[in-house]
């Protein structure tokens, strides 16, 4: 069978043509995406990864709601300039409890994957309310309402149960205690808790054994 006759057959048979197009379009995904989804080593939690607690999860949802990921990525690439600036590069095992992951695709502001512990809680509070009061040349908008709004406690149990269904190891006790943990918190408090834990899933002694060069301290 030659190329021309196959061509003719495909062109004269709509069903076969549709199947052919779908099949050819799928090849990239079959090679790149499917193994990444099903390969265990990409989905194994890093040694320090754990599920987000109720407060962190709430802060994370506020991070998503306010569109932080539009300007801030959460992926430090394995390049010296990034490791020096931000800290150890991001690894797959740190994201297993991220649904959805917040890698982002654009850095109008700096990467935030290693932001935890870099500034004090007080600084984050002032900076979120009015960024230019501490960083005069910042172009980040202020988020003053976060300091006024109470966190929503009504849906946290449903969120945790949904994640539990997806295989995140929450205990019933975690779910029972969740609304209580959020009691009396403002949205800014939860967001700061989330920001301060970013980067803590990184495991120094991960499989590649290159932790020495990732600390940024040289």
């Amino acid at each position: 069978m030659s190329g021309m006759s196959l061509h003719k057959k495909l062109e004269e048979n709509a069903g076969l043509l549709i199947f052919g197009i779908l099949f050819v379009s799928a090849i990239g995904g079959l090679v790149q995406v499917l193994p990444a989804i099903l390969q265990d080593s990409l989905n194994t939690a890093s040694a320090n990864a754990r599920v987000y607690n109720a407060v962190e999860l709430t802060g994370r949802d506020i991070y998503i709601r306010e569109g932080c990921s539009v300007c801030h990525s959460q992926q430090v690439r394995p390049l010296i300039a990034e490791v020096e600036r931000y800290g150890p590069y991001s690894q797959a095992g740190e994201f297993v409890y991220d649904r959805p992951f917040l890698w982002g695709s654009k850095r109008t502001g700096p990467d935030l994957h290693r932001i935890g512990g870099k500034y004090s809680d007080d600084w984050h509070r002032i900076h979120l309310i009015d960024p230019r009061s501490v960083v005069p040349r910042s172009i980040m908008p202020g988020y003053p309402w976060l300091a006024e709004r109470d966190v929503k406690t009504s849906d946290i149990q449903a969120k945790l149960r949904a994640l539990q269904l997806l295989g995140h190891p929450y205990e019933q006790a975690d779910i029972d205690a969740a609304p209580g943990q959020l009691e009396g918190m403002k949205e800014i408090d939860a967001l700061i808790v989330y920001l301060q834990m970013l980067g803590s899933f990184h495991a120094e002694d991960s499989a590649d054994g290159h932790s020495e060069n990732q600390s940024g301290a040289h």
Binding site: G3, M4, L30, L42, I80, I126, S133, V134, V135, H210
Partner: protein, 295 residues
């Protein structure tokens, strides 16, 4: 770093990739070089346009062929040299973390001499070197200015002024280095409950008079000696070991208004300086100490 695909999925990637390449090669070659391309118009059922224009009666341009051929050759060479075919690491042994290690080796080699010089120099020598001080200022800008301000003058009535003579945690180079390396956690408790509102009022007023002649006769003195003097000293001179600031001078970290002082006493203060041990190396820390102790 997650490893390369292994086991079944490695084989899967290899098979699908190679099969796709081969199919593509066959497809391209057959379109250009198949024997029946020329007699395709033999079929009576082929549609004909514009008198003699039919499917396949003119070959696609040859440069398309070279483009596709070149792309395929490139793919084959790439897959032989770099990781791409499942678990095969490629003949160059390239990896992302390998590249990073290489960058660091180069980086360390380039700056090792400079670092050694900085670490072994005296602070005075460093302060006399304009170029190094410019580097120190850049370091300050990148790591410290977000809290302490671009001029180091402190900000927001929360982050201390580093340009004045008062150092909450001590002014010696060793103490400043310790502050940078390990961070600092101030723990002033909230005094509203033990003092009551009236007590807070009195102590706040008393504290404002510290360092002046009225201090000795002020009614707030009794409670001050009872609750505050242990950390801030009987005369309010502070204690750098505890990070307790001097209350007898005109420097007020959290603001000099009576309201601000009242708030500090009633609610306490928990200033937190993060540790920079992980982010900065010895030479960088020393440069910052030199910058901050410069007269």
């Amino acid at each position: 770093m997650a490893d390369l695909p292994s086991g079944f999925w490695s084989g899967w990637i290899v098979v699908v990739t190679i099969a796709s390449l081969l199919t593509l090669a066959w497809l391209v070659l057959s379109v250009y070089f198949s024997a029946d391309a020329s007699d395709a118009h033999a079929s009576e059922h082929e549609p004909v346009w514009d008198e003699d224009l039919r499917e396949g009666n003119s070959a696609p341009p040859l440069w398309w062929f070279w483009l596709l051929f070149g792309a395929m050759i490139f793919s084959v060479i790439y897959l032989m040299l770099y990781p791409g075919l499942g678990a095969f690491r490629g003949m160059l042994g390239w990896s992302q973390h390998g590249r990073l290690d290489g960058s660091y080796a180069e980086f360390d080699q380039q700056f090792e001499a400079a670092r050694t010089t900085i670490v072994t120099s005296s602070l005075g020598d460093l302060q006399g070197d304009a170029e190094l001080m410019a580097t120190a200022e850049r370091l300050f800008n990148r790591n410290c200015s977000a809290c302490h301000g671009e001029d180091g003058g402190g900000q927001a009535n929360l982050f201390p002024n580093l340009m004045d003579a008062e150092w909450q945690w001590g002014a010696t180079p060793e103490q400043i280095e310790q502050s940078i390396r390990m961070g600092r956690n101030a723990t002033m408790p909230a005094w509203l409950a033990p003092l009551t509102e009236q007590g807070v009022e009195q102590v706040a007023a008393y504290v404002q008079t510290l360092g002046t002649a009225q201090a000795t006769t002020h009614p707030g003195q009794v409670q001050y000696s009872q609750f505050c003097a242990a950390c801030h000293g009987v005369d309010g001179s502070g204690n750098p070991m505890l990070g307790a600031p001097s209350l007898s001078d005109d420097n007020w970290l959290y603001g000099d208004s009576l309201d601000a002082i009242r708030l500090s006493i009633a609610q306490g203060r928990n200033g937190h300086m993060p540790a920079f041990n992980e982010q900065l190396d010895d030479a960088q820390i020393k440069l910052l100490v030199a910058l901050l102790t410069r007269q």
